[in-house]
Symmetry: C2
Subunit: 508 residues, 2 copies
Amino acid sequence: MQSDKADSNRGRCMVEKQWKKFLALIGEVRDLAAVLELLEWDMQVNLPENAAAGRGSQIETLSGIHHEKATSKALGNLLDTLERASFPPGSFEQALLRRAKRDYDRERLIPAALVRELGAAGSAAFGAWLKAREEQDFSVFAPHLERLLELKRSQAALYRPAGHLLDPLLDDYEEALTVAELDPLFGVLRREQAAIVRKAVERGLEDDSFLRRKFPAAKQLKLAEFVARRIGYDFRRGRIDQAEHPFTTSFGLSDVRITTKVFPQLPLSCLFSTIHEAGHAIYEQGIDPSFDRTPLADGASLAFHESQSRLWENQVGRSLPFWRWLYPVMQKRFGGELGGIPLETFLRAVNRVEPSLIRIEADEATYNLHIILRYELEKELIEGSLSTSELPEAWNAKMEEYLGVIPPNDRLGVLQDVHWTSGGFGYFPTYALGNLIAAQIWELAHQAIPELEEEIAAGKFDHFREYLRANIHRYGAKLPPRQLLKQLTGSETPDPRPFLAYLEKKFA
Amino acid sequence: MQSDKADSNRGRCMVEKQWKKFLALIGEVRDLAAVLELLEWDMQVNLPENAAAGRGSQIETLSGIHHEKATSKALGNLLDTLERASFPPGSFEQALLRRAKRDYDRERLIPAALVRELGAAGSAAFGAWLKAREEQDFSVFAPHLERLLELKRSQAALYRPAGHLLDPLLDDYEEALTVAELDPLFGVLRREQAAIVRKAVERGLEDDSFLRRKFPAAKQLKLAEFVARRIGYDFRRGRIDQAEHPFTTSFGLSDVRITTKVFPQLPLSCLFSTIHEAGHAIYEQGIDPSFDRTPLADGASLAFHESQSRLWENQVGRSLPFWRWLYPVMQKRFGGELGGIPLETFLRAVNRVEPSLIRIEADEATYNLHIILRYELEKELIEGSLSTSELPEAWNAKMEEYLGVIPPNDRLGVLQDVHWTSGGFGYFPTYALGNLIAAQIWELAHQAIPELEEEIAAGKFDHFREYLRANIHRYGAKLPPRQLLKQLTGSETPDPRPFLAYLEKKFA
């Protein structure tokens, strides 16, 4: 008995020591990842014109060191030992080990040579993509896309997928997502959304000419900052800067930064992109602080992340209650231009539905159709059932079929997105899933907070934000996304009905 | 013969391979150092209020990895092998090996435990220093200073110095600098500068009340940027931001950033601190681009660096020709306030001599006296002939003796500088040496460019900057500072006479 107890004490002590080592090591890996994020953020926000090459080599050096540490034998041994300690399900320790193991295994699986080849092919493809866009000539980009497809096919093969070759790539961005799940889901969405769009288009375009005058950049930025602060973005743990392509980045739970962009002729672009990024950032800032410097200090998944940015941008930011609150503020700040436009007219302009060529400018009603088109094409590309030379034609045909518009050139068509230039096949679907989950959460929040719309109309967002924090944010990446979704909605799979109902109500 | 040739080819090929490895390795070390600089820069310029702890751990992790790589056996072996290859004196390879070896040996010499202890003692001392300043009570800081002195004494002892215990610490900041050299040099300076100051003070203070009104911050920043650009700071390879304490930092030769600070009531502070930092940055931007990502992409020494910032700030920026050019511009930009003040009056205000309490606000005539005071005290402190408890009194006594003013409290006296809080004993003298070298170079430049003052009065700085680039900047750290000084002036030691003659002419 005595000796058993001593043994068990010794065992516990050993585990504690190993656990401390493990935390220190993943803390370092996390620091390196944060520093890589800083190098990237600074590149987008501050980099002097001639400094790109130097920054490139800094990123390369740091990436190498990060990869080395993240795949070290030492970390592998600690993971093995600690897994045997069987921490209770639901505990921080068990969740952290699960996530760390997943990261470790995935990072180990891909040989360093393939990582390098992907990096090199991506750089070359990015350059070719820029050139192809400039020359509006897809054929400049085609061989690079071909090469990236080859490399990603071999990466996917490493996972020995039981189903579709795209599955492991989908899983890279959204744990456990498969073609088998997406095909029927996107089938429904495509059919029903197209119908909603058709109806909206038949009613004719809303007038938004009063939004196409010049709104001073400084005032736009101030308004965006004001709104970000009001919805709950914490400036003591973040900041807003300007960048060519707005994004959110985190160097840890106390330093979550967003960027925005101002178009003087498009007063709502800066505002909505700031709300969108603030939605991402509020998610990260709401994660349990004790997860900091671990892989749990992250969103549950890309779809969940996108659900948060979309919720704030669309369900909140494009709603009548929101503009009941903000429109008078905006009228006052911007003066003359808006004085004569009634709220209803303004709101219809904000929610104008117009099938268009560019995904990132698409409205709520048409957005998913852009995603579905990309998903269907990348599935065929990775299978090899569609060749890169056939891609532009296939793109244009689908644009006509789903949206009724045909790109006049490849720049406004197949060359518009940067994702494929780094081999990001399988990324796009997370955007559409984010839209679906946002609508599900929006319904749940209404049930939990009956006075939600009144509060929003009064410029009060605390209840809603705290609801999100309590039910989603604080978990960070502790729960796998499926489990978090089940805990929220009762089902492991996203349900398209709340989203379709939301669209139907708003646009029909 | 055949076989000899084959052998020698094989040998050359071996050396080339080792050299490539060596360049790759020091390139990585350099990247890591650059990333540490970025972490620091971002901390000073951008950091959100609550992000300090997270940034601290990122810096700690990176510092550890940097130290590991910079002291790795692999690097040591490469240095040993390549030293035997005996590259010709004066070659890039020989210079780089010399510098890399010096860095390597110094970094290896100090045990990791001592580095950690110094880091911890420094953090604690910094906190205590802030508190001591707030409470105007030196005794809060004293025990921390004591601890730092102890640690630095043991660090100095590792070098087994033949002369004074401060020598190795001086050498850390300025290669080959010794107490034996500084004592007589500073003796002369102290005596002669004090006499010049006395004479200036006897003439009475110049009126500068017209400079103590409000000058809009945005206009000040614009003027500073305008001047920085004009004297040759290259914005394609740098940028200006605002920070609490202006500084220059380099992430490589194509990314040399400066910071500045605006005091609305002190219109010249932002301008002169920007010119000062631009002087540092122009030095770095002028280094031979082929030195990038090596330890030669650096100034020759701290004193040389300071000589460049001082030259632009003082010899150029506080001269009559400079203000012949800039004063009309400034009058036009700032309007009313300055319209009625003649150039001569303005210039006398710019060059006002006033013995004062704070080093960083000191004028050209009194500045070195602040330095000499610190040097003399830190010498006694490190020797142990002055105890920390006696320090404030000794400080005040010397202030009275050299400058005729007595600090009313420790905050305005012994607690004013941050340097000692991190154990930076031996750093201050480089500032004074910078002043001396600046005056030497100023004389030489006049000989090389007879029309120098006319050009400056026309707002033309290209000849002067190119002179500096050709004779100093481009060498980077290729030549040891003594050798560079000898190449410039004929002597290995700084000569105080040009500086004293410059002061005499300007202030007497």
